[in-house]
Amino acid sequence: MRHLSRFALCGAGSILALLGPSPASGAEPGLELPTYTRAYEPRTVDERGVWMEADEAERGLRDSPLRIREAGLEAYLREVLCREVGTERCAGVRIYAMEIPGFNASMMANGTMQVWSGLLLRSRSEAELAAVLGHEFAHFELRHSLTGFQQRRRATDAIAWIGVWGALTNRDTSSTQSIIERGIYRYGREQETDADLLGLQYAALSGYPASTPSEVWKNLMAEEDASAAGRNQKPKQKYTAGYFDSHPTHLKRSIYLAEAAAKMPPGGDARAKEYRAAMAPYLPRFLAAQIKRNDFGGTEHILQSLAADSGWGPDLLFARAELYRTRGNPRDLQVAAQYYREARAAGYMGAELDRNLGLALLRNGQADEGRQSLNAYLTAMPEASDAKMIRALVAN
C-alpha cells in the first residue's frame, strides 16, 4: 500500500508538470501596465468558445429582472472603473448592476462585468469599490476565463486517463486524482492573486489610495467576525486557504496587498463623499435587502461602519429599527420602537415607518400606542395593499 501511494504521488508529480506552468506571479509588481489591445477579438477555437458562452450569459444579464436599471447607477460604476483602469481600458467593458445583497462582482471572458448591490452597500468610498472593479478587470485583461478553462480541461483529462489506467491495472488511483483535482483549485487561487496584484497597479496609477485594496479585505473579515458573533459562533478567519477554496484567504490577500502597496506611491483622495452622494438614492433598498439576510451581527456591523462615516441619518436609523424588529426578542422590539422614533425625528418620511413601529409596539404589549401608529399609517396610505390586514389588527 505504501509502495502504491508513493508510486501514485510520483505519477501525480509528472502529470502536474504536464499541466503547464502556473500563472506568472513571481515578479515584483511595478507600475508598468501590460500592453493593452483595444477591441480585442478572441483568436483560438477555445477562446471563441469561451466568448460565445459569455455572450449568451451577457444576454441573460442584460434582460435580467435583477438588474438595477435606474438611470445613472451603471453609468456611475463605469465612471469609477474608468478612473481606476483608465479610459482606454474601460472602453472594452459593459457593467451590469445586479440587485443581489452579497459582497461580489465578477467578470466574464468577453468583458462583461456584473456588480452586486451588496458590494455597493459595503463599500465606503469610490476607492474601495474601484479596488474590486480593478481586480475583476485584471481577470479580463489576463484572460483568466480562458486559461482557467484550459487548465481545468488538462487536469480533468489527466484524472480521466488515470482513472481508466487504474481500472485496467486494478489499482487505487484516487489519491493521485485528488492531488490533480486540488491543482485545479490552486490554479484558481493563483489567478486571484495575479488579479489582485495587477488590480493594485491600476489602483496605484489611478489616484485612489494604494492602501485601499488591502483594507477592503480587512473590512470584510471584520464583518464576517461580527456575523459569526451574532450567531454565537466563533470567528473563523483562516490563515491559509484550504485545498478546495476558490480564493486565497481574506487575511492573506490583505497582507500581500498591503506589502505591495507599501512599495507604491500612496495615491490621493478615496472620494468617499462623492461615493456616498451617488449611493444615497439606493441606500434604503440596499439596506432593506441586507436586513432580509437574517444576519444580525453582520448587518449591525455594516450599519455601524456606514454611520461612522456619515452619522446616523434617517435611513440608517430606520434600517437599524427594522433589523431589531426582525430579530424580534422582547428587548429588540423595545429598541426597535426607539429607533423608529429617532428615524422619524431625524426626518424619515415614509409612511411604512408608522406601520412597522405600530407592529413592534403591538407585539411589545403597548396596544394603545401601537394602534395609534397603525392608524397613522392607514390615514397616510388608505389604499395600501396591506391596509385590510392592518385594519383588522387595529380593530382587535
Binding site: 460565445m52 458562452e53 480541461r153 480533468t156 484524472i159 482513472g163
Partner: protein
C-alpha cells in the same frame, strides 16, 4: 461558474466510471384534444437556444463558437423548410420598438423551466410525480400574462427550440475505446439533446412538447440539421401525415 464546470466534468467521469449510460429517451406530450388546423396558425419562432461544441476527454463540455454559428444558420434554414411543409406561417420573433426584450426573455426562461419540469417530472419514469402519471394528462403552461405582450400580438403560438450538442473529441473517443478493456469503466462519447415546445399565446398553455436526449443529425451540416429538425418536430400538432421516416 468555474466550479460548475468542474463538477459537471467530474460528474461525467463518475457516471462513466460506474457504467451508467442514459438509455434512449424520447418523448412527446400533447395537450389532450388539442389540434392545430393547418394553414391557419401564425407561429412565432423564439430565438432558439443552441450550444454546439466538443466533449473533452474527461467529459467537460468545450464550447465551439464556429460550430454553434453553423448550427444556428442550418437549423434556421431547416426550420423554414419544415414549416412550409406544415402549412403554417412562421415568423421569427422581433422585439421591434416594444421595449419588451427583458420581459420576453423572462418568458423564455420560464418556458425553459416548465419544459425541464415536464421532462423531469412527467416524461420519464424515475422522478415522475404521482399527479403526472395519468395518461392523457398534459397540463402545463407559462401563465396567460403572455397574451398581453405587444411584440407577440400577431402570433397564435410561440415555438421554442433548444439544442445542445457535444461531439466526442478524439481524446474522448480513444478513452472510450481503451475503457472497453477496463472492467466497470464504461465511457460514453457525445451528448446530443434537444427539445421543442409550442405555447398558446392566448392562454399561455403548453400545447405540445417534444424532448429527446439522444438526437440524430449533425447540426453542423445542412442535411444533418434537416434531420435534427424533423426529429425535433416529431408529433407536432397539425403536422401533415407523413410516411414513417426511414432509419431515424
Amino acid at each position: 461558474m468555474k466550479i460548475t464546470w468542474f463538477l459537471r466534468a467530474a460528474c461525467a467521469v463518475a457516471i462513466a466510471a460506474t457504467g451508467i449510460s442514459a438509455a434512449a429517451q424520447e418523448k412527446t406530450g400533447n395537450k389532450p384534444g388539442f389540434t392545430l388546423a393547418p394553414g391557419t396558425a401564425r407561429i412565432v419562432l423564439m430565438r432558439p437556444t443552441i450550444w454546439v461544441g466538443e466533449q473533452s476527454t474527461a467529459g467537460m463540455p468545450e464550447p465551439n463558437a464556429d460550430w454553434t454559428t453553423q448550427a444556428r444558420e442550418n437549423i434556421a434554414r431547416a426550420l423554414a423548410d419544415a414549416q412550409t411543409g406544415l402549412g403554417n406561417v412562421v415568423i421569427s420573433y422581433d422585439e421591434d420598438a416594444s421595449g419588451e426584450g427583458a420581459l420576453v426573455a423572462e418568458y423564455s426562461h420560464l418556458f425553459g423551466a416548465v419544459a425541464e419540469s415536464v421532462i423531469e417530472y412527467q416524461f420519464f419514469s424515475g422522478n415522475r410525480l404521482p399527479t403526472k402519471k395519468r395518461k392523457d394528462s398534459f397540463d402545463w403552461g407559462v401563465g396567460n400574462g403572455i397574451a398581453g405582450l405587444k411584440s407577440l400580438e400577431g402570433g397564435d403560438y410561440a415555438l421554442f427550440i433548444n439544442v445542445h450538442d457535444e461531439y466526442g473529441s478524439t481524446g474522448r473517443k480513444i478513452l472510450q475505446i481503451v475503457s472497453m478493456f477496463a472492467p466497470g469503466a464504461g465511457v460514453s462519447s457525445g451528448v446530443h439533446k434537444g427539445h421543442a415546445g409550442l405555447v398558446d399565446l392566448k392562454t399561455g398553455e403548453l400545447v405540445w412538447l417534444n424532448a429527446d436526449w439522444e438526437m440524430g443529425g449533425d447540426v453542423r451540416t445542412a442535411e444533418g440539421a434537416a434531420k435534427r429538425v424533423r426529429q425535433l418536430l416529431e408529433g407536432f400538432p397539425g403536422r401533415p401525415a407523413e410516411a414513417p421516416a426511414e432509419g431515424e
